[in-house]
């Protein structure tokens, strides 16, 4: 919600700039008009530079951490199965893998809000927004591995599922390596 709200705001200011410009031509008050245009431009630049408020950013951080928490909630039991800590439950794997597909598809939107310039407590590294293509590729890998896990669950074979669960974890880890603060 944060970024969209912000975008809406910027558009409003942009529209306003056009209006003032027309006004200045009509009235011929060039100096005053110029000042107003300049002021409006600065407002637009300010809005763009500040991105979003810290409050919005905090909510964005909360949203993506919640998303990851729900992913852990779904992945955790499968990890425990793969490690032999709990018995395999093929239905559970199928359900949770399908959820992971849906959840991992939310990642790119969840991380769209650029919180680099905000004062927030986050382990998300700046490189997420500096190298968006690399980040998108990591997300894509998780979506693919989750899809493959749905397929593995369909076989009902514990060995196949164990492998596929490991590969999903591997895509999580690979993204953490590059895009999450270590400590």
């Amino acid at each position: 919600m944060g970024p969209y709200l912000n975008k809406g705001l910027s558009h409003k200011r942009y529209a306003g700039r056009g209006k003032y410009r027309t006004n200045s031509k009509e009235t011929g008050l060039m100096n005053r008009g110029k000042l107003i245009v300049l002021g409006a431009l600065l407002a637009v630049a300010g809005a763009a530079g500040a991105q979003m408020s810290d409050e919005q950013a905090e909510r964005a951080v909360e949203t993506r951490q919640s998303l990851l928490q729900v992913m852990v909630w779904n992945y955790g039991p499968m990890g425990a199965m793969a490690r032999g800590r709990i018995d395999f439950d093929t239905d559970r794997v199928k359900t949770n893998a399908e959820r992971l597909v849906a959840l991992s598809k939310m990642m790119s939107d969840a991380f769209a809000a650029d919180t680099r310039s905000n004062d927030v407590d986050t382990e998300a590294l700046d490189v997420i927004w500096e190298q968006p293509d690399d980040f998108a590729a990591k997300i894509e890998a998780t979506i693919e591995a989750s899809n493959a896990l749905v397929g593995a669950a369909a076989t009902g074979d514990e060995g196949v599922m164990t492998q596929a669960i490991g590969r999903v974890g591997s895509t999580c880890g690979s993204c953490h390596d590059d895009f999450r603060l270590d400590d």
Partner: protein, 237 residues
């Protein structure tokens, strides 16, 4: 071994075996930790836990082992360390039988740092699949602190290991001392080392008993004693 008479036994076999196993564990753990990522994390854990078992052995061996392995014998007083540092640039300065004063300080420092590092690894999780055996026993705050320690020490340890190798090369190339060879064969040339500084035996029987005890202790510490991770669904909240 051919020139047995012209050489003196300096390092007992348990210490030599310990050194190379420790080198393997630390190098393996460091490389899998830095570059292995998730796919090598199980190996990282095995290497790290191996290092912990070895560290326990080394500390005890430093008390009950032969003289050159003993902390009390090789840890120098500051004045001796200072004197040694002044002779460091001399190419022909007398070779020490065991650790020289600077090497002794380096050894204890390396053991301490690696001890802290390996121990911190027992309390952390990768938030995906793997965690140290004691992660479930501590609070999130403790785990976070251990994680900070573990990750921030990674590069300093890499530098420490690099310095260790540079030091060995320095002694080999600048001072003509074959420290690596001594750590393999256990021996140094008799014309460089007085007989009084050699060791009579490797204390093999004591070493074997200690190895068995430490292995059991490490197994208990890392596998038996840690609480079972809860496998209920509410444990992933």
């Amino acid at each position: 071994m051919i020139h047995r008479d012209s050489e003196r036994l300096i390092w007992d076999w348990p210490l030599r075996l310990w050194h190379w196993l420790f080198a393997l564990c630390v190098t393996g753990a460091w490389m899998t930790g830095q570059w292995g990522g998730f796919d090598w994390r199980q190996w990282h854990i095995w290497f790290g836990q191996g290092a912990i078992g070895l560290l326990i052995f080394r500390v005890i061996w430093g008390i009950v082992g032969p003289r050159n392995a003993r902390f009390s014998r090789f840890l120098p007083r500051p004045s001796r360390l200072f004197t040694y540092l002044k002779t460091l640039p001399k190419r022909n300065a007398a070779e020490y039988a065991g650790h020289n004063p600077l090497g002794a300080v380096a050894v204890v420092f390396i053991l301490a740092v690696l001890g802290v590092h390996a121990t911190s690894g027992l309390f952390i999780s990768d938030d995906i699949l793997y965690e140290g055996p004691w992660y479930v026993a501590v609070s999130d705050e403790t785990a976070d602190f251990a994680s900070t320690v573990h990750h921030r020490l990674a590069w300093p340890i890499g530098i420490l290991l690099g310095l260790h190798i540079i030091a060995i090369l320095f002694y080999r190339l600048y001072k003509g001392q074959r420290l690596t060879r001594a750590m393999i064969t256990g021996r140094k040339p008799a014309d460089r080392i007085p007989d009084a500084k050699s060791i009579a035996s490797s204390r093999t029987v004591l070493a074997l008993i200690l190895i068995a005890l430490v292995a059991a202790l490490a197994w208990w510490l890392l596998v038996v004693a840690p609480p079972e991770p809860p496998a209920e669904f509410d444990s992933w909240y």
